[in-house]
Symmetry: C2
Subunit: 610 residues, 2 copies
């Protein structure tokens, strides 16, 4: 960011007393940007006392907006944020759950703001969303970590496993109850800021406190701190029978699907993704630099309809001895444009992919006349997502083949509900157009740079890369239980628009990926295309895989290609390890289906195989 660059790089004191607003405009005579900063301690916020800073930070952000202040500084310390006085917004957050949220840092309509934590910890309490960046520009977050006092997931050690039951020992961080009906549920901890006067009165309303819902279990290897070998999600629903066992915090749960290894850690996934760490929507030039996300009840960073987002020198990693960081993807980008840069980050223990970069398809629900249709977003995590504006060009996509057969410009848009939008086009509809086809926004698809990251110990895949701009994946370390990289897209279940056109995967280390069930090849190129169109459609194009090291524990698939036109695999090293038990292999190293111009060159080196 323009604004931030000098302040941290010039070695000058970041605040100067001036009614608490430091004018930094004179620090660099050549700059035309007048910089002012606020030290939060000058605005009544106090560090390290667990008091509630929420209302004050909202006031400070408002002041920054009004006065053109471009920097907010938190001197190093612990700062606490509670939902009571957080700002309310009903948010539809793509790929997470909608709802009336409490936002700690509502950054709306600002142009140029840096929040510098100087190494601080931001601790959030209860049911709240840390950051919202909406219709903003030039926003930089640096030098702080976020965490939740009471996480949204649960963790327990497996004490015993029997047919249809499992004994668990929960950590103190994960309080639970067994209802009079004999059902396990998870509850909050008392999170009232110190000195809050009506503590006792609030006690009355304990009956209506929200519960921490769950929906599935996933086992982690206690020592390796990664998902246990070849385990899968156990979908147990949001209510299981349970009974107390002798000893503290010991519970027996009952469900026919239960399986696991004694001594490992069983984690409970929350039933919803409500509490995203950073929600970025309709914003431009957002930078994360030296930010640590210890936890979020949903994704860590979700960017939608944004232009230029950079995450660098940052981490998604659990705090304390937890096995889970964010309860869904570390980062995720939807219908973005410009550049997406993920550089020198650590993404570990998140409950889903390190990133997923894609667009959204909406299905044609009703054709009203020769120019007018109702389209419907299909996945509930896409409800309310706004991606169709007057003047936009929409591609028209045949449902089963995913072949784009045309485009049409939007003349009028009316949103009927969170899932249905009425669209009137400028031109008469293509005659092939029918109910069940899809539309997606044609835009300045982002260029993606993924460089120098470490991805490990998470659930599912490493990264889902579905961008039509240039995609460069370089110098990363992947150790993911599913595919390290997945290219895909479909218009029949997830309704995610993808299809790379120029992707380079270079000089990465793929270290014993695919030790779990989320994919069966290290690099997986897929597409949701029906049988009858498999010869005709080619969804992903022009992929170069070179100079990578694949550490593999058997001869399982390195590449699984479907509907690809153009892939070169060259100068890679494939090294045999003993990391996991070998699988039954049907096909060694490469599987290629319904693809053209695939070139597995002879210069790849296989080391250590008999």
């Amino acid at each position: 960011m323009l604004v931030a660059a000098c302040i941290s790089g010039c070695g000058v004191s970041v605040t100067q007393a001036n009614n608490g607003v430091a004018n930094e405009g004179n620090l660099k005579q050549t700059s035309t940007v007048k910089r002012q900063s606020i030290n939060v301690l000058d605005r009544g916020i106090t560090a390290n006392d667990r008091s509630d800073s929420t209302y004050k930070i909202i006031e400070i952000i408002e002041e920054a907006k009004k006065k053109g202040v471009t920097k907010i500084i938190f001197p190093k310390g612990r700062y606490d944020f509670y939902p009571t006085r957080a700002q309310e917004h009903y948010l539809f957050i793509s790929n997470n759950d909608e709802g009336l949220k409490r936002v700690g840092f509502p950054i709306e309509g600002l142009d140029q703001l840096e929040i510098d934590g100087q190494g601080s910890q931001f601790i959030f309490h209860g049911f709240m969303n840390p950051f919202l960046v909406r219709d903003a520009k030039g926003i930089t977050f640096k030098n702080f970590s976020i965490d939740f006092e009471r996480p949204f997931h649960q963790e327990a050690e497996i004490l015993a496993v029997d047919d249809g039951s499992m004994d668990l020992a929960f950590g103190e961080e994960f309080p639970y109850e067994i209802t009079p009906a004999g059902i396990l549920q998870f509850v909050g901890i008392r999170e009232i800021p110190p000195g809050y006067p009506i503590f006792e009165r609030l006690e009355r309303r304990k009956d209506v406190e929200k519960k921490y819902g769950y929906q599935s279990l996933l086992e982690f290897d206690k020592e390796k701190r990664e998902t246990a070998y070849m385990v899968y999600d156990l979908w147990i629903g949001n209510a299981v029978k349970a009974e107390h066992l002798p000893g503290e915090r010991r519970v027996r749960i009952f469900h026919p699907k239960l399986s696991g290894t004694v001594g490992n850690i069983m984690t409970f996934a929350p039933s919803r993704r409500d509490y995203v760490g950073f929600t970025l929507t309709g914003s431009e030039d957002v930078i994360f630099d030296n930010i640590t996300i210890h936890h979020a009840g949903g994704m860590g960073i979700l960017g939608e309809n944004c232009h230029n987002v950079t995450v660098k020198n940052s981490a998604v990693t659990p705090s304390k001895s937890r096995y889970i960081s964010t309860t869904a993807d570390a980062t995720h980008f939807v219908n973005c444009s410009g550049e997406i840069n993920l550089v020198n980050n650590l993404f570990e223990n998140q409950k889903d992919d390190a990133t997923n970069i894609h667009g959204i398809y909406a299905m044609v629900d009703t054709i009203l006349d020769d120019k007018t249709i109702d389209v419907r977003v299909q996945h509930p995590h896409q409800y309310g997502f706004e991606f169709i504006d007057k003047g936009d060009l929409l591609e028209l996509v045949q449902g089963p083949s995913m072949i784009t057969y045309g485009a049409n410009k939007v003349a009028e848009v009316e949103r009927l509900s969170k899932e249905i939008t009425r669209v009137k086009f400028v031109d008469t509809l293509d005659k092939r157009f029918q109910v069940g086809d899809s539309v997606a926004e044609v835009r300045d698809y982002p260029d993606v740079l993924i460089k120098g990251n470490i991805i490990r110990r998470n659930r599912a895949r490493g990264m889902l890369l579905n961008c039509r701009g240039k995609t460069l994946v370089e110098d990363n370390y992947f150790h993911s239980p599913g595919a390290a990289i997945l290219f895909e897209g479909d218009a029949n279940f997830w309704f995610e628009q993808g299809g790379v056109s120029d992707a380079v995967i270079r000089n990465n280390v793929f270290d014993n990926s695919v030790f779990g069930v989320w994919g069966n090849s290290v690099l997986d190129v897929a597409a949701g295309i029906s049988d009858e169109y498999q010869d005709k459609a080619r969804y992903n194009k022009n992929i170069l895989v070179e100079g990578n090291t694949f550490n593999v524990y058997d001869k399982g698939l390195l590449l699984d290609l479907f509907s690809v036109d153009g892939l070169i695999f060259r100068n890679n090293k494939i090294v045999k390890t003993q990391a996991y038990p070998e699988r039954q292999i049907e096909k060694e190293f490469f599987n290629i289906e319904h693809s053209d111009n695939i070139n597995i060159e002879d210069n790849n080196e296989f080391i250590g195989f008999e």
Copy 2:
């Protein structure tokens, strides 16, 4: 209503072809109001085919608003409304549950509109809110019924009761599932309008369909169709263990609290009150005339911040063979003014009181300076309720005594969140003011007329009347399991503002009320006042009870008075019946505590007692 009166009274044809808009302005030459009506069949709505009329009625209402149309006519028939294209609003509905609602009839900002159903049935499907009247004036509903295809509650016949278990037979209207974890849950029926093209596609998303939550059981007498003698709510929570039994739709449920009589009907209350029949907010002159509410997933009619509401010749009554009509109060009015008239209605089988008319207290949460406080609404069903505007006068109420010790005018208001509002007063705060006290709006408290109604077979009380205007309750028939009439108010749990100043209860029949657990006297006057203030405070005043007939099945309390100043009980007839088994009576007929000027006259007649 001005507009409606003539049209139905003049015997003229209500529609005249004029591009579908009938100009009725010439029907009455002396009128200065130009009346126009729309027949919905002229706008593409079709009757009796179960097609979705929702989008079209929203368009018609919009047209009415734009063109000043004052009447919308539905020729007699069945009309269906589905949530898919209903209008979305995030609604806080007092005494019901907040949420993002789908509204079938959004009547916002209109001035003068009558909707005449001419005897039609309006059938609603799925999760939607039939009517919203907001910031409107002169709205009349007449001659139609509303119902839901799939009700929000559940009913089952009790087949067997054992220690900790109960066998139930569910009607076809109440589909359920038992999860793989062995938990009972209730599900929807497929409610897709005929001809909707993407039926099969929608099937995919069955996994995310909403469930019909539950929280408690209540037993109904199968023959009498009322709550069984002295039963109480069984709070079983939203998840109970269950197993299928041989035979169709037979289930055994497990919970330590289960009790009931074989052959009776067990009803499951929904866990939330989300789907109010008619939500009236900030509106004026609203009339219901010959409206039948068969069902709502919440209250039937909820009026808040309204001026003048009349419900006449109407009914809240179950359809088909159901035991439950609305799942909460039939009607309910909060912070209203002007007149509230309930005349010649039938209120039966609703899952709570026939009406409750009251104000709202908000508790002082924080005192910021000598003019500024944060107040907090305490009950989640009051969250988001807006009752403090700039210029309002607020009474200051001592928490434990409920004594009003002053008032202060509002200079500024800032809403921080749905429960917390920051208020700056014009004058310096009274020195007695402290955290834990409450404030309530001082307003033109409504005059209430309750006349000629039948109230029976519901859960809980007949009516809760907590109005400081004139209250006249005349010529009604009450047969309620709890108190027939309750006057109360408190600032420590429900936070409902009350305190009558002039109430007359005359010529009613109280027919064997108090056969359940919701109160122990036919007329109950209470107040939430702490022990130390009971001698000082008098919360309800000037009540006249005369000329009523009390049919009673034992010598239990007719009057239970607490904190009353001024009550006359005269010329009433008390008649002994055999309707229910007699109770153990501690005190016969009258109980008077901490009250002054209570006059039980000698002219009351006791008939049939030994």
